[in-house]
């Protein structure tokens, strides 16, 4: 990250946004031309190394993306479901091999066989087996359907009552002082749903206390964890919950500018949110003087360009600035010095979506739901191994067994472990399911991580070492490359696993644990620091399966 580049990009800020401009240059050929990058660099005074360096980072901007026609989802759920190979085989009849790219992940984990074609996403065996129909334009629109259910207090999945009714609490809130609202949020005890579980109220307070004319609220809608489609659900079916949250956060912190940074893998989310924002502007609920008050707030939707690390808040900030999305050191924290070096709040979709309930019903009402340390409800996504795949809202503290058996209806075929909370989440063997409840503490105490609580099932016949290799491969592919442990360690981890799978090579146990410790203790961010968790879970819970690949070297 470069302080100077933040300043220079900040001169044009969000109005003539560098990252948006980079994205526009790629529309024609899938990647910007060198001449255009040089011109843009000259215009922004930043040197062509920076525009070129930035676009080579992203899956959908880099030169290798030129002329890609179709992208296959290679997320964990599609991998475990085994749908990728057959899909690619079918696609090979229609495309050259180098026209087929990949995306991670399209959030169609409930039915798999997912791919992205011509700006739309498709999934499910029916479409995958009828590609001729799709390409001949038979009207397949790609929309998917999944079960949406709530098991306790219904908050995030409540039916949308229409804009007027939904935004009434905002107008009431604008009559109250920001510090009063902040107290409500602090009272609610709501914690970030992105993985770290940081109390939202505290974060907003830090930002509020910074003196700056310009502050930003960023909604991180680029959490690309395979298995999770709760963000997609909120963005597409409850977009106002997210926008309401951003408006509230803006009012509380004194920010006037919002950025909704949405994954390119979710094209519908982008379109739906843009429409929702336009609607709000028309109704005077976004823009200048909201609801007749002197509160100004507007949201710009920025389309991400394919990089998992952009789900990390500082990488995300660099991305919006048009810099390479490499992780920044902390401090300074974004709340002090974030986007364009200004105080910035970065929160994920589900976290912001909680604010409507808290503002409408008071912090105490939210606090009363769930457990003492993990308040409120939580969205959970179940993949296609469940008899009832879909999105469920449960109260914090709900037993995992209830989710798996009662809501999910159990498994269609034998499963040996669940990865919960994305690729950096823990690997829960099925025999530990009954030990866990859905809350931060229960997972942490048992050596796992709640994360955003998405569930990916690993079938009985899927080798755990192969799963470990996949995790390392994913981590290496998505590593920003800034810190030494993650850049080198994830790659070497992948190589160790692959070599043991492919030959009679035995992995030195000491070397592997040294590698995991180096990643955990040495990495700059949670990407490199988090990947050892599921691998340690695997080493502990699947020791006998793995033992043939390991040895104690002296």
């Amino acid at each position: 990250m470069s302080h100077n580049l933040s300043e220079l990009s900040g001169r044009k800020g969000l109005t003539d946004n560098l990252f948006t401009r980079l994205g526009e240059l790629a529309i024609k050929d899938g990647t910007p031309s060198v001449e255009e990058l040089e011109k843009l660099a000259h215009e922004f005074l930043i040197g062509s190394a920076n525009t070129y360096g930035a676009i080579t980072f992203y899956d959908f901007l880099k030169p290798e993306n030129r002329d890609k026609k179709i992208y296959v989802c290679n997320g964990t759920a599609c991998l475990c479901a085994g749908s990728q190979e057959s899909l690619i085989e079918n696609l090979n009849h229609h495309f050259q091999a180098d026209e087929i790219g990949h995306m991670t992940c399209l959030g169609r984990c409930h039915e798999n066989h997912a791919f992205h074609y011509d700006g739309r996403n498709y999934s499910g065996p029916a479409v995958a087996e009828n590609l001729e129909g799709l390409f001949s334009g038979n009207g397949i629109n790609g929309d998917d359907k999944y079960r949406i259910k709530s098991s306790g207090t219904q908050i995030l999945t409540s039916p949308f009552p229409g804009i007027e009714d939904y935004y009434k609490p905002l107008l009431t809130a604008l009559e109250r002082k920001p510090e009063v609202l902040l107290e409500e949020i602090k009272t609610s005890g709501v914690r970030g749903r992105g993985g770290a579980g940081f109390p939202l109220g505290l974060k907003l307070e830090f930002c509020r206390n910074e003196s700056s004319d310009i502050k930003f609220i960023i909604c991180n809608a680029d959490e690309g964890d395979p298995g999770a489609y709760s963000d997609r659900y909120l963005l597409e079916l409850q977009p106002h919950s997210v926008l309401f949250g951003m408006l509230t956060a803006g009012y509380v912190t004194g920010a006037k500018h919002g950025v909704l940074y949405i994954r390119a893998e979710y094209p519908d989310s982008i379109a739906i949110c843009k429409n929702a924002i336009d609607e709000l502007r028309e109704k005077g609920l976004m823009g200048k003087g909201i609801g007749g008050t002197n509160f100004d707030f507007d949201v710009k939707v920025i389309s991400a360009k394919g990089s998992y690390i952009c789900g990390e808040e500082t990488a995300l900030i660099n991305s919006i600035e048009g810099q390479r999305p490499e992780v920044r050191i902390r401090p300074p924290y974004p709340a002090q010095q974030g986007l364009f070096n200004k105080p910035t709040i970065v929160n994920n979709v589900e976290t912001l979506a909680t604010l409507h309930y808290i503002i409408s019903n008071g912090g105490a009402a939210w606090k009363a739901i769930g457990t003492s340390k993990s308040s409120g409800t939580k969205l959970i996504c179940l993949d296609s191994f469940f008899k009832h795949p879909g999105l469920y809202e449960v109260e914090m503290g709900t037993p995992l067994k209830t989710v798996v058996d009662d809501l999910g209806g159990g498994f269609k075929r034998p499963v040996k472990a669940l990865q919960i909370g994305g690729p950096l989440g823990g690997l829960v063997p099925v025999w530990k399911i009954s030990d866990l409840t859905i809350d931060f503490e229960s997972f942490a105490e048992n050596g796992f991580l709640l994360g955003h609580a998405s569930v990916v099932s690993i079938p009985e016949d899927f080798p755990i070492l192969r799963f470990i290799e996949h995790l390392f491969e994913f981590a290496a592919y998505e590593s920003c490359g800034k810190c030494f442990p993650c850049r080198l360690g994830t790659k070497r981890g992948q190589e160790l696993a692959a070599k043991a799978l492919e030959s009679d090579y035995k992995i030195d146990k000491k070397l592997l644990t040294d590698l995991l410790t180096t990643l955990e203790e040495g990495s700059l961010c949670a990407h490199g620091g988090g990947i050892p968790l599921p691998i340690r879970n695997a080493l502990q819970h699947f020791e006998s399966e793995l033992s043939v690949y390991l040895e104690d070297k002296l």
């Binding site: 470069s2 302080h3 100077n4 580049l5 300043e7 900040g10 001169r11 060198v34 990058l37 040089e38 660099a41 005074l45 930043i46 040197g47 062509s48 190394a49 920076n50 070129y52 360096g53 080579t56 980072f57 880099k62 990089s307 690390i309 390479r324 490499e326 050191i329 902390r330 401090p331 070096n341 290496a476 592919y477 998505e478 590593s479 920003c480 490359g481 800034k482 810190c483 030494f484 442990p485 850049r487 080198l488 994830t490 790659k491 070497r492 190589e495 160790l496 070599k499 090579y505 030195d508 070397l511 040294d514 590698l515 410790t517 180096t518 203790e521 040495g522 990495s523 700059l524 070297k553």
Partner: protein, 934 residues
């Protein structure tokens, strides 16, 4: 803390190297249980280094002049919030320390972590240390040895060992197979040079360093400053001199010979040859940075074309002679002219390339041995209006503050200067300043210079209208009620009269002549006036004009008007051109003031000088350089001794200069090379380069720094000071042999502001004059009062240059002159280095509209014609100049742009007006041969 909160007291504390404690009780942190005082906001690494030494914690991505980055993680330590509390591992380079923190810098787990990280690094690094250029001076090698790597346990995997070397550039090299992705080069290019040529491409394991859009160094926009090569911990980025290798036998710290920034250089030698130059991090002036001239353009020193013998021209040919013979010959001729035509028939031009001591000696020779005040130097053609103008307003003709004061400034106004080319290290600092959105940068320049592109306000005035624009600025400041009445009342005089005259200017007319929108001027003026601390900087774009001195005075008035004088982060700061142009004037190289700026016409001063030199010295003001040429053409000047200045190539109106030299009976030229001027000499004396002598240079901040001899003078040459001393003795004036300490002692006895300067006390960062008898120096001038008492307001209205009044009708374009980064002045030295491979000719900047009007394409030869003559130059089409304006350089003798410059001079200081030449242009068929015309 914002810049405005920094008081002078803190400035002094910082300058004195002490620490501000903010009055709060000292808080402690613990290292392995032992407590030490900590500073709020510092990193754990800086805390540990203070008490345990610089090398206590191994690091790879950290560098002294770069911000913390946190990529290598080798500096990790364990910390706990209380003794025996739960520990966690943090990277000490960016983790802040907190009160009561317990640090375990070398715990077993940390040692393991460091070892494991380095093991990973070595899985993708060639293991060929013994044949690597940085063997023995590689930070990776050092850290690997320190953490105790014995083996790499990982099986062979993917690597980047087959990356190709980049040997495209005359200086810069890269071998990215050696790269460890620490980003130090990228950050140096960004945070130090502000060039943004380097970045990373790709991501993760395959991320790699790129130059531009993945080009070679030569194809990229690299400015060859070498900051990346110096920053690189391995040999991934290096230079052709392999500057990081430790095969040298000795390193000498000296001062750069090029511009007035005064960069400190560490020059490495091996067997008497210079092998490489690095920039020391502890130099206050350049803090580990320098430019391609300072770092790489040193090969001129033993170039085959160096003059290595004294020569006398006989029958039109130079004949090599002995020193004895040439001294006798010169002494005889000088005595002959002195006896026959009086001492005023002889003149000397001293060199700003030479040391203070040498300049002192030359003026002493002219005054005490010859007996005339006909001594002048190149300051005449650059900053003489600065010295004169600032003397008139403040009493002292030198920079009031230091470049490092930028850290306390909120606004910088850069007028008539192109620092990124002409003062690259200062230019780089300006760029950092201009990028910072909390600061305001105002550029007043006809050209859209690089710094103008980054500025908040660019007033692209028509050349020659500085006075108009500056008056407009002050008009608006007064109109807006932004004048600092308190300061004006307490510290200045003449304001009321000044104000009434100023408010009488015709804004419509000033807007029309300058071509700058009045609202833009107004907004810039308000920005300058409302900034808590505003600094101004100016260059030759201010001085080399008919109204040069007046423009300098307006800049000084602007500072008076807004109270921006006498504290950190403010002031009036000329960017002095040559390495020692400040010093040469300080030493008395000017016809009206002797050593220490004392008035030669004053009887008391005359007797002081006469007593000190032991001979009666003259009282009449001598010739300024242009007057010397006039005197020569009038037959009054018979002999001239010119040291280190190529007046034929660099002074305006070349043909006139040549005629003047031809009209002078006896021309002595002391030089390194056979310059255009040397060709007209009767005697040539081979001087020595900066590498071959000791003494002092005074930079643009009044900083007197030690120049230390690095190598012996080339056989046949002599240090310039010794040559002058030899001649003094030969002509009967006893002067001891040249030693830097002996000379400085003599100077300190006559130059008041050198009173406390001692050679052995200069240290590594020199001293800023005035240096008081007790040795304390002065960072900021005019803190409580001006040298002349009160600051003096003096109004001068804009006046059009005679050049345009006479010729604008027939010659409708205005040609101005500029500098390019790669070359220094007329290129005598830089053209004899590989800088010539980077830029090998002068060119003409022309606006696309004008080019189209004359059907001129990029690279076409353009004939530029003025009332004096014509030259042909290649066109470069650019919107860096406005329509109607052209600009070119005079680094190369093939073009001789001064064939067409005028002999209009600044009305006060007689500095030539290089910056406004009325010309017409046409596309040229063939190249007009300047050389043939000579």
């Amino acid at each position: 803390m914002s810049a405005t909160d920094i008081t002078s007291k803190q400035f002094d504390q910082k300058a004195a190297g002490t620490t501000a404690t903010n009055g709060s009780p000292t808080q402690m942190a613990f290292v392995d249980g032992q407590s030490f005082p900590m500073q709020e906001g510092e990193t754990i690494l800086s805390f540990l280094r203070r008490y345990q030494g610089e090398d206590f914690i191994p690091t790879l991505c950290d560098a002294p002049n770069l911000k913390p980055f946190g990529s290598c993680r080798v500096c990790s330590v364990e910390v706990a919030q209380e003794a025996n509390g739960p520990k966690k591992t943090v990277a000490s380079c960016h983790a802040p320390i907190s009160a009561g923190m317990h640090i375990y810098p070398h715990s077993e787990s940390v040692k393991e972590l460091r070892k494991n990280i380095i093991e990973l690094v070595l899985t993708d690094h060639p293991l060929d240390c013994l044949t690597c250029e940085v063997n023995g001076n590689c930070e990776l090698q050092d850290v690997a040895a320190r953490v105790g790597i014995r083996e790499v346990r990982y099986p062979a995997g993917a690597n980047h060992l087959d990356r190709e070397k980049d040997l495209s550039h005359p200086y810069m090299t890269s071998d990215l197979s050696k790269c460890i992705n620490c980003y130090r080069c990228v950050r140096a290019c960004d945070e130090v040079q502000g060039e943004f040529v380097l970045s990373m491409a790709g991501r993760g394991f395959d991320a790699y360093i790129i130059k531009g859009t993945d080009q070679t160094f030569m194809e990229s926009d690299c400015v060859s400053c070498g900051a990346c090569a110096q920053a690189c911990p391995t040999s991934a980025i290096s230079d052709i001199y392999q500057s990081k290798s430790i095969t040298t036998t000795e390193t000498t710290r000296t001062i750069c010979t090029y511009c007035g920034v005064g960069c400190n250089l560490d020059v490495s030698t091996s067997n008497g040859d210079v092998v490489s130059i690095r920039a020391p991090y502890d130099a206050e002036v350049n803090e580990g940075h320098t430019c391609l001239k300072g770092r790489y353009a040193f090969k001129f020193y033993n170039h085959p074309e160096r003059l290595t013998s004294p020569m006398i021209k006989r029958n039109g040919h130079f004949e090599e002679v002995s020193w004895d013979e040439v001294y006798d010959y010169m002494a005889e001729r000088f005595l002959q002219y002195k006896a026959g035509f009086g001492p005023d028939s002889i003149a000397g031009i001293s060199s700003s390339r030479c040391t203070n001591e040498e300049n002192y000696l030359m003026q002493k020779f002219i005054r005490a041995v010859i007996g005339t005040n006909n001594i002048d130097g190149c300051a005449r053609v650059c900053h003489s209006p600065t010295a004169l103008g600032m003397q008139r307003t403040f009493g002292t003709g030198a920079a009031t503050n230091s470049i490092a004061d930028l850290q306390y400034a909120d606004c910088a106004m850069i007028i008539g200067a192109n620092p990124t080319d002409a003062h690259p290290v200062t230019g780089a600092r300006f760029k950092q300043f201009a990028i910072d959105s909390s600061k305001v940068t105002i550029v007043i320049d006809p050209r859209r210079t690089e710094i103008a592109r980054y500025a908040d306000y660019h007033l692209a005035l028509r050349p020659g209208t500085n006075v108009a624009v500056l008056n407009m600025m002050m008009y608006y400041i007064i109109r807006e009620g932004l004048a600092d009445e308190e300061f004006i009342a307490a510290r200045t005089e003449g304001f009321d009269e000044y104000k009434s005259e100023l408010l009488g200017i015709d804004i419509d007319q000033m807007e029309a002549v300058s071509g700058v929108d009045r609202d833009l001027v107004r907004r810039a003026a308000i920005a300058y006036a409302t900034a808590p601390n505003a600094m101004s900087f100016h260059g030759l774009g201010v001085t080399e004009h008919f109204q040069g001195t007046f423009a300098v005075m307006q800049i000084a008035d602007l500072a008076l008007l807004t109270g921006n004088i006498g504290r950190p982060g403010v002031g009036v700061n000329p960017l002095r051109g040559q390495n020692n142009v400040q010093g040469s004037a300080d030493m008395g190289v000017q016809p009206h003031q002797g050593a220490g700026y004392l008035d030669v016409t004053d009887a008391t001063i005359n007797s002081k000088y006469s007593e000190f030199y032991g001979v009666q010295v003259p009282k009449e003001i001598g010739y300024k350089i242009p007057e010397m040429f006039d005197a020569a053409l009038a037959g009054k000047l018979k002999a001239i001794w010119i040291i280190g200045e190529d007046v034929v190539q660099t002074d305006p109106n070349t043909q006139k200069v040549i005629r003047a030299l031809e009209a002078t009976d006896f021309v002595v030229v002391q030089e390194l090379f056979m310059t255009e001027t040397a060709k007209y000499a009767d005697v040539i004396l081979p001087g020595a380069s900066f590498l071959e002598k000791s003494g002092t240079f005074t930079n643009g901040e009044r900083r007197v720094q030690a120049v230390r001899q690095v190598i012996e003078p080339l056989p046949g040459t002599k240090p310039d000071g010794q040559i002058i001393i030899d001649m003094m003795n030969r002509m009967g004036y006893a002067q001891p042999d040249y030693t830097p300490d002996g000379m400085l002692t003599e100077i300190s006895q006559i130059v008041p502001f050198f009173a406390g300067i001692k050679w052995e006390e200069l240290g590594i960062n020199g001293k800023q004059w005035p240096v008081h008898p007790d040795g304390t120096d002065t960072k900021i001038l005019h803190q409580t009062e001006f040298k002349r008492g009160r600051g003096k307001f003096e109004f001068h209205a804009f006046e059009e240059s005679q050049e345009l009044l006479d010729h604008a009708r027939d010659y409708p374009y205005i040609l101005t002159t500029n500098r390019e980064l790669e070359h220094y002045n007329c290129g005598t030295m830089t053209r004899r280095t590989d800088n010539e491979k980077i830029l090998s000719s002068d060119y003409l900047m022309i606006h696309p509209d004008d080019a189209a009007k004359h059907s001129i394409n990029e690279g076409d030869m353009v004939c530029i014609e003025s009332a004096r003559g014509k030259v042909d130059v290649n066109a470069r089409i650019t919107d860096e100049v406005n329509p109607g304006i052209l600009s070119t350089t005079f680094h190369f003798p093939d073009i001789m742009v001064n064939m067409i410059t005028s002999d209009i001079h600044d009305s006060e200081a007689l500095c030539p007006e290089y910056k406004v030449v009325a010309v017409r242009i046409r596309k040229s068929k063939g190249k007009f041969k300047a050389q043939q015309a000579l």
